[in-house]
């Protein structure tokens, strides 16, 4: 490890890093703007200047940029030299030529990196007396607000959006001091990762639009470590709450999972938490179908009355915590418990769980995915099914560039130079899918095949790897590509609803001999894999089996699951048929809830704690951001109390969350690791709980005075090591207990570097989460059977197309997400469109047996023969079944949709009616 000298202090540094990184690692405050740990250096802002000396005798030195200067043994630097401090101050002074003094009304105020750096360099009075340049802002869609006047031209937005996230529709325009960062014309940003602009921009050019409408300063937000519930990737998030509303979601760094970035579903998809559809009180159904609100105890007593001595079955949920599912399963007994998957889904996810336990390959973290140097994707449009993984795959294709750079001795952080060197040369990626995917632009090969053929393709690749001759040149090429790689990666998943595709991916992975072969599956929901592991012992039931027994059942408990989304309406109707008392725990109104006799208002993820198992097999804990509003209770508490009331022998002994975790951990060897996921409730950091509130949290005693002048006591959290308080330390604690980042002088999210053990490394408290599944030496047992389907003329294979905005049950209830989701659609190739004489926005009737759906047309740029896609998870397509054969017909009655009212207008409209100033709190 080389030693360098900074202001006379000897510092041990990492070979190959730059001085800025070295300084930050040493805990020194060296200001910067354009450098970003995930995006490297370009030397644009010139803020991280320091003085480098030739040798001990050199007293004058010269100014160098920290981010562009590699460390070398014995090198001498000064941060404090007057020419360095003066230069850094001058940089800020010149940035202030045009920066408006609008901090009081700027959403970035209080967490603005520019504010922090301005204070840090000591700049105060601007000497410039000329006019400021001003710009027109653009409408960028419902998620991102644009305020160009604040721009300091650090190029981070363009580098993030275009270079890192692969977005095409945002970039630098014009030049000199008239630079403009925006779109060619106003419009919705196309990237699924646009929200990260909010955190990447060091000032307030790109801000969180939904947050603006219900704004609070960062220091007034109460936060807790949480896990995104938007998909199965398990990104770590830090939601911020005030006045009982979750106001925004920020990224929470986990070096092995999401790093610095979230997808837009994750960042913006929690708006439903504040929706009117949320339930506040338990309710019992009136004969007229309406519910009357009851107290918690009354609901519990009623439920107990329906359950005691009766035949009770239960349905769990892949979107509920392990703990809640575990309690429910124990409450009714495994045989009477169905995990809440549709039966087909149960096979798929169960199959994946089995493969992951038996494959020789690594089930990679996102960080590992980024190391892949050859990728084969079978059947998934990863950007829409596991968005954050897709962002990692985008980085993986850059490994070719890093390899070229290494050959030249160019450090990977020399971002612009590495890109200039490699140009469009990328590591190979082969995508085999039925139609367009959002990663096609970085793929070296795209193959369009029907789901069955994708499976056949996968098996052909496996055969080629095993040395067999195939008559499939593309599969041979894919096999060659994987064979030549150091870290080959196979990605597949359940979105094709096709077991054969999943099996073939496993076959390819197990046919590879590299020790670092990776196999990653995309699964649909935040706890799909956890639930699959829970029922892996085969002792539980299925929806179909429960439906068969429905007539004999007295009561059915449904946990956080709208069964109508699980397919087959008939089956669900049968399950919920009258005669059976249906008790539902959920947080918002849905079809299943409407059919229930008793409803228990469940707390959201932001009001409860629990453990989820991500598609990586990583168990992670989320904590309540605020205490449940009204009479909501976390499902695990409802179930624990219910167990008490029905005097359940085993469960009524449990009192606390930690005990449930312990019991769950004992229930299966697969869950043994659960006890290590996060510290116990008794954990104290230097004698205190970890505060959810910042030191500057304001108005604690007065913030509700618009509603009531009484000062309620702060809620107590008896179940976690976090407190609803500003007292205590938020520093160096275990990573799973980091509610927000802040450090003295670092109010923005850039303060993260004070929490990292080193630049871009794990947090000082480690990497949170425990991986429950590790690869095995045996290899997966895989059926290589592939079905063949004969199509009649004018019939098409129906292929589900998951959509980042629209397919997910909960986030779709967020206004902004719903706006982006648009209408349910049918997607066809250009040729079919031509034949049918339809264009985008026209309507088609899709006939699947007796079912007929009228859907909007979208045109695909590539599609497998005889395949058409449909938007999965939309209400308009609920009746359609993946893999079925359908016919198409032009819908003559179709009305093309007019320009829609945008979400921001809608919200403004509602505000006028609904909000009454301070009473809004």
């Amino acid at each position: 490890m080389p030693m360098i000298y900074v202001d006379g202090q000897e510092i041990e540094v990492k070979k190959g890093e730059n001085i800025l990184e070295a300084c930050l690692n040493a805990g020194l405050d060296l200001p910067y703007f354009c450098w970003h740990p995930a995006m490297g250096s370009i030397g644009s802002c010139r803020q991280c200047a320091l003085v480098q000396y030739q040798n001990e005798e050199d007293t004058r030195g010269r100014i160098v940029m920290g981010c562009m200067t590699p460390v070398s043994e014995g090198a001498r630097f000064s941060l404090k030299a007057e020419n360095a401090t003066q230069f850094r101050e001058a940089v800020v002074e010149s940035l202030m030529l045009n920066h408006p003094h609008d901090c009081p009304v700027c959403a970035e105020g209080g967490e603005c990196h520019l504010q922090d750096m301005t204070v840090m360099v000591g700049h105060r009075d601007r000497r410039y007396t000329g006019k400021k340049n001003t710009y027109r802002n653009q409408y960028l869609g419902p998620l991102i607000h644009h305020e160009m006047n604040r721009c300091i031209a650090c190029y981070r937005c363009e580098r993030y959006y275009r270079d890192y996230a692969g977005g095409k529709d945002l970039g630098a325009q014009a030049s000199h001091d008239h630079l403009y960062f925006g779109r060619h014309e106003e419009g919705v940003l196309e990237s699924e990762f646009s929200g990260n602009l909010v955190e990447v921009c060091p000032t307030g050019v790109f801000t969180d639009k939904p947050f603006l409408k219900q704004y609070s300063r960062k220091w007034d937000l109460q936060s807790a470590p949480s896990i995104c519930q938007g998909c199965a990737v398990g990104c770590n998030i830090a939601p911020g709450e005030r006045y009982g509303k979750v106001k925004r979601v920020h990224n929470r760094y986990n070096d092995e999972v999401n790093g610095y970035f979230l997808c837009d579903r994750g960042r913006f998809g929690s708006g439903y938490l504040n929706s009117d559809l949320r339930l506040d009180y338990a309710g019992i159904k009136n004969p007229d179908g309406s519910f009357f609100a009851v107290h918690q105890q009354q609901a519990l007593d009623t439920a107990a009355g329906w359950m005691t001595g009766k035949k009770v079955v239960a349905i769990g949920s892949p979107r509920a915590s392990l703990e809640a599912n575990y309690l429910l399963r124990e409450l009714v007994g495994p045989k009477n418990f169905a995990p809440g998957f549709s039966d087909h889904e149960a096979d798929l996810i169960g199959g994946i769980a089995t493969i992951l336990q038996s494959t020789k390959s690594i089930n990679p973290s996102i960080k590992q995915i980024e190391t892949a140097d050859a990728v084969l994707i079978l059947g998934e449009d990863v950007t829409n099914t596991a968005p954050r993984v897709a962002l990692a795959l985008r980085q993986s294709v850059r490994n070719k560039a890093f390899e070229l750079a290494e050959q030249m001795g160019l450090p990977a952080w020399q971002d612009a130079a590495v890109r200039n060197l490699a140009q469009d040369q990328r590591s190979p990626m082969t995508i085999v899918s039925a139609m367009d995917t959002r990663l096609d632009d970085v793929a070296s090969t795209c193959v369009s095949l029907a789901p069955d053929d994708i499976a056949a393709f996968g098996h052909a690749v496996a055969a080629a790897l095993a040395g067999e001759t195939t008559d499939n040149a593309e599969a041979d090429a894919a096999a060659q590509m994987l064979k030549a790689a150091k870290n080959p990666l196979i990605v597949s998943g359940s979105s094709m609803a096709h077991q054969g595709v999943i099996n073939s991916a496993a076959a390819v992975a197990d046919a590879l001999s590299q020790a670092k072969t990776m196999l990653s599956f995309c699964v649909p929901e935040c706890n799909s894999l956890g639930l699959a592991l829970m029922v892996a012992d085969g002792s539980s039931s299925s929806l179909k089996a429960l439906a068969k027994r429905a007539v004999k059942v007295d009561a059915l408990i449904v946990l956080e699951n709208d069964l109508y989304r699980r397919g087959d309406k008939e089956l669900i109707d049968q399950l919920l048929a009258s005669g059976t008392k249906v008790i539902t725990l959920d947080m918002y109104e849905n079809g299943t809830l409407d059919q229930s006799d008793l409803v228990m208002a469940a707390a959201s993820y932001a009001e409860s704690q629990g453990t989820l198992v991500s598609s990586e097999g990583r168990a992670q804990r989320f904590y309540p951001v605020h205490s449940p509003a009204a009479e909501r209770l976390p499902s695990w508490q409802w179930l624990l109390r219910l167990a008490k009331v029905v005097e359940h022998k085993k469960l009524s002994k449990l009192e606390h969350f930690d005990q449930i975790v312990a019991a769950c951990a004992k229930s299966s060897p697969l869950f043994a690791g659960l006890v290590d996921v996060a510290p116990l409730n008794s954990f104290r950091d230097r004698g205190s709980k970890i505060p959810r509130q910042t030191h500057r949290y304001s108005g604690r005693t007065a913030m509700n005075s618009g509603v009531s002048v009484h000062e309620p006591q702060q809620p107590k959290d008896h179940e976690s090591p976090l407190s609803y308080s500003m007292e205590g330390l938020n520093r160096d604690q275990p990573a799973s207990l980091t509610p927000f980042v802040w450090a003295p002088g670092w109010n923005s999210n850039q303060s993260l570097q004070k929490f990292q053990s080193e630049v871009d490394g794990p947090l000082k408290g480690g990497s949170s989460g425990v991986r429950l599944i590790s690869s095995s030496q045996t290899g997966a047992e895989i059926s290589s059977q592939v079905n063949e389907v004969t199509l009649k003329p004018h019939q098409w294979h129906l292929v589900p197309m998951e959509q980042i905005h629209g397919s997910d049950e909960l986030s779709a209830h967020t206004d902004e997400i719903a706006e982006l989701a648009g209408r349910g659609f049918i997607a066809i190739g250009e040729k079919v469109a031509e034949k049918l004489a339809v264009t985008e926005g026209d309507g088609l009737l899709v006939k699947q047996g007796d079912v007929q759906s009228s859907l909007e047309v979208r045109i695909l740029s590539r599609v497998a023969k005889n395949c058409i896609g449909y938007s999965a998870g939309y209400s308009e397509t609920r009746e359609l079944t993946a893999g079925s054969l359908v016919s198409l017909e032009v819908d003559k009655a179709w009305q093309r949709s007019g320009p829609e009212m945008i979400a921001s207008d809608k919200a403004a409209f509602q505000q006028v009616i609904g909000d009454g100033g301070a009473s809004n709190v």
Binding site: K168, D169, G171, A172, Q173, H184, E185, G187, Q423, D424
Partner: protein, 172 residues
């Protein structure tokens, strides 16, 4: 999605066959399509005087670029016009040698004669007046270009000669 939705037929309704052929010719020695961005902008501008939004979108699509990417390039350069210009562009050198040679007052004469300031086009759409960095004819300062013609040793007489009342053509 605006540019993603532009399909081949849209491109050919905007770009002429000649323009596309010229762009293709440039592409012969350029490894990436986007590498011909500046050439393509110039090719289209040569025939049309300027690059409209519609042209820009069509070129972008033709070169597999996003409109944003091409806009970033188009707005960077001085000689790509993203607003309509007159039949001839007057590139008036206001750099140091011409300034010493008194170009400020000549610029005033032009403005008075034609009734336009920098960035403006005459009412009859014949001229657009733009400043230009040093034209590299400092020994003959002050100078300007009118269309493709370099006009040197400017003085007030010459200006009124060039832009004579009937405004008929340029003599160099």
């Amino acid at each position: 999605m605006s540019n993603a939705k532009m399909i081949q037929s849209d491109i050919s309704s905007v770009l002429t066959r000649q323009e596309m052929a010229e762009i293709d010719h440039e592409l012969e020695h350029i490894p990436y399509k986007s590498g011909a961005a500046i050439d393509a902008l110039k090719i289209v501008q040569a025939g049309r005087g300027w690059v409209s939004d519609e042209s820009l979108q069509a070129i972008a699509k033709y070169l597999d670029m996003s409109s944003e990417e091409l806009e970033g390039v188009a707005t960077f350069y001085n000689l790509i016009y993203r607003r309509p210009v007159g039949e001839k562009v007057i590139l008036f050198c206001d750099s140091v040698s011409c300034w010493i040679g008194g170009c400020d007052s000549i610029k005033q004469t032009i403005s008075d004669t034609l009734g336009v300031d920098y960035g403006e086009t005459t009412d009859d759409n014949r001229y657009t007046l733009l400043p230009v960095p040093c034209l590299g004819a400092c020994d003959r300062a002050p100078v300007m270009m009118v269309g493709d013609d370099l006009i040197t040793h400017l003085d007030d007489n010459k200006i009124s000669e060039i832009f004579s009342s009937n405004k008929s053509g340029v003599q160099s």
